[in-house]
Symmetry: C2
Subunit: 379 residues, 2 copies
């Protein structure tokens, strides 16, 4: 399905030096050749991949790893920020996700530097953090509403770049998404909130006041893109008149970035064979024999599933690379599979040995079931 | 599908005065007549219902409502607490969920009363909070490991009851689930964590030490159930050798409790008609006409979907009630539908009037499309 993208979404949507917000068609789907139904299928497929990658990130965080991901979502009212939280983050284990939304600063927050509340909300190791609005409000609403003079907000662009650089250097991937809907589409969505009794709670009396300042916000956003899209923390500008496209784009870019993190399962700093022996002491021989009989199937299935994830990841990232690059990546996955299968063989031998020490009869029965009657005499 | 439960799961699983933990069959599925595949289908169906109810709870919280839900999950290592977070909470909008897990207290936490860190983690209005472990650790591990003497932990039962009573009186529903697996099943699951390279990160060297104290924990849990299962915050003890059953049971009980909260969409304290007029001033006549043309379909669909949710909820709660009770509930839903449809009629009339003030031609075209050519002359 990767061919639905005729360009890597990270390239198609990233702000570059020539970016011109005024020229953006907000109902377009840059780089994507499919429609809504293709987008939904792709999202389900890559959502599963994303979920796998997220579990690895989480596992690494739980065992001393320092990597984390921060997804920043900006956009005006009704642009679909909440839908990103719900439909993209909703695809992964909620235990590994930290959602934060930033409204008008509280009194306590106002008493601090504008980055103070942001610092306090950063994802922990192994987490994907999602910010619904962020420190960019301090160069957007703060600028448009003239809450502070230009000489205060203007230096913030450089300050934010420096702050994000530190974050990235410390092991956090920073992804910034701007959901850009058209002026007409916003009216349609606000009207729907007014019309539907189950959506009126989403409407705020301040929405129209913000809408009045539409042009000022567009200028402020254009400056944000120009001044704060960096190599280490680029902006992706998503045309957002089609909600399905914005959701797909975030899923696709996040998935690709997480693939590039090359997340592997953490290795324990203790010996599984020793723990297995200790655990076996608390088990009956029958229970251990039962567990041994299931081991090959269970572990092989897990290895195969992991290999599938890795191959799918390679396919996604090397969709436009030459065959040599792809073949090298596939060969590495196969080498890793061989290591895991050697580990499985050792696991089986260890477990069998423990079983034999508890019950030679059950160990023999295992051999017969696993290798057939003739094994011992053949060997 | 409700007939798969031959008893309300809240009754089947709730700790009553006669409850005897030693007699619990941990591979049983009390009250549930189906197997794994029926459980999974039921969970998907009721997960959607739960998600709808959660959105209403969230909407109420965002508009001044005070209701919240706290789900406490307790259980020993490998009992499936994380699976509840992932598979039950994973079905609803992550923005409305607050997950917290409680490990060994930090130095700061230890310097405070044991309920301090719990108080700090309570769900906010409109949220469903999930605690993976909780203040019950302070009468479980603390007791088993003799971290404090009996005269310190024993009074905590009463203190916890009082604290939970205050919580409930303040508008929080408190649901307590204990996942009770068998001793053998724990060994099987620990062994799998040792065998699978992708699960080893879940294993901890302390797991076997805790397992050694299995009997002490069972006694401590039995006392927890005896002393802290109250009318306002009952314990549900879930046999957890089948993970699918424990997940289903939490989904089913949570859904029923949220149905009983009778969550309705909050009504705005502003006038939609006035906001609509103001919004229309920022729209072209053509855009407004387009929006008007879609209104009936969009709003009617939302009304119908809401009615379906309410009817499904009634079916679930009155599965074992008599026909009179059910009919009364259905009649009330129909009355609420009529109110919403009257609101829709007013919305259509209001919008048409605004359109007429902007463009009599487009208003006339709307009339013709909506009511047929003859309407004006007939009327």
């Amino acid at each position: 399905m990767a061919e639905l993208w005729n360009q890597d979404p990270r390239t198609a949507l990233r702000v570059d030096a020539d970016f011109d917000l005024t020229a953006l068609d907000r109902s377009s789907t840059p780089g994507f050749a499919g429609g809504k139904s293709e987008a939904k299928s792709l999202m389900v497929a890559h959502g599963e991949l994303l979920s796998e990658l997220q579990e690895r990130l989480y596992a690494r965080g739980r065992t001393g790893g320092d990597e984390r991901v921060l997804v920043i979502v900006q956009g005006l009212d009704t642009s679909g920020k909440g839908g990103i939280a719900r439909h993209v983050m909703g695809m992964v284990d909620p235990q590994g996700v930290s959602l934060r939304s930033f409204g008008v600063p509280t009194e306590e927050e106002q008493a601090h530097h504008y980055l103070w509340r942001i610092d306090n909300a950063l994802p922990k190791p192994g987490q994907i953090g999602l910010f619904d609005r962020s420190h960019y409000e301090d160069v957007l609403v703060v600028r448009v509403d003239e809450l502070v003079p230009r000489e205060v907000w203007e230096p913030r662009f450089d300050e934010i770049n420096e702050w994000e650089k530190n974050l990235v250097d410390g092991g956090t991937r920073v992804l910034k998404f701007a959901l850009m809907q058209s002026y007409d589409e916003q009216a349609r969505r606000l009207m729907e909130r007014l019309d539907r009794p189950d959506k009126r709670w989403k409407y705020s009396l301040s929405d129209l006041k913000t809408r009045e300042k539409w042009d000022d916000y567009q200028l402020a956003y254009a400056d944000v893109f120009k001044r704060t899209s960096t190599d280490y923390a680029p902006w992706y500008v998503l045309p957002a008149d089609h909600k399905w496209f914005a959701r797909l784009a975030v899923t696709e870019i996040l998935t690709r970035v997480m693939i590039e993190m090359d997340l592997r399962w953490p290795a324990p700093d203790w010996d599984p064979a020793e723990q297995r022996r200790l655990l076996a002491e608390t088990m009956s021989s029958e229970l251990l024999a039962e567990s041994l009989a299931e081991t090959r199937g269970v572990v092989q299935e897990a290895i195969d599933a992991g290999v599938d994830v890795n191959l799918e990841a390679i396919e996604l990232l090397t969709a436009r690379s030459n065959k040599t690059v792809r073949n090298a990546a596939v060969a590495e996955v196969k080498a890793r599979r061989a290591v895991l299968e050697a580990d499985l063989a050792k696991t089986l031998a260890d477990k069998r040995e423990v079983l034999e020490s508890k019950s030679p009869e059950l160990a023999e029965a295992y051999d017969e079931a696993a290798y057939g009657k003739g094994k011992k005499s053949d060997g």
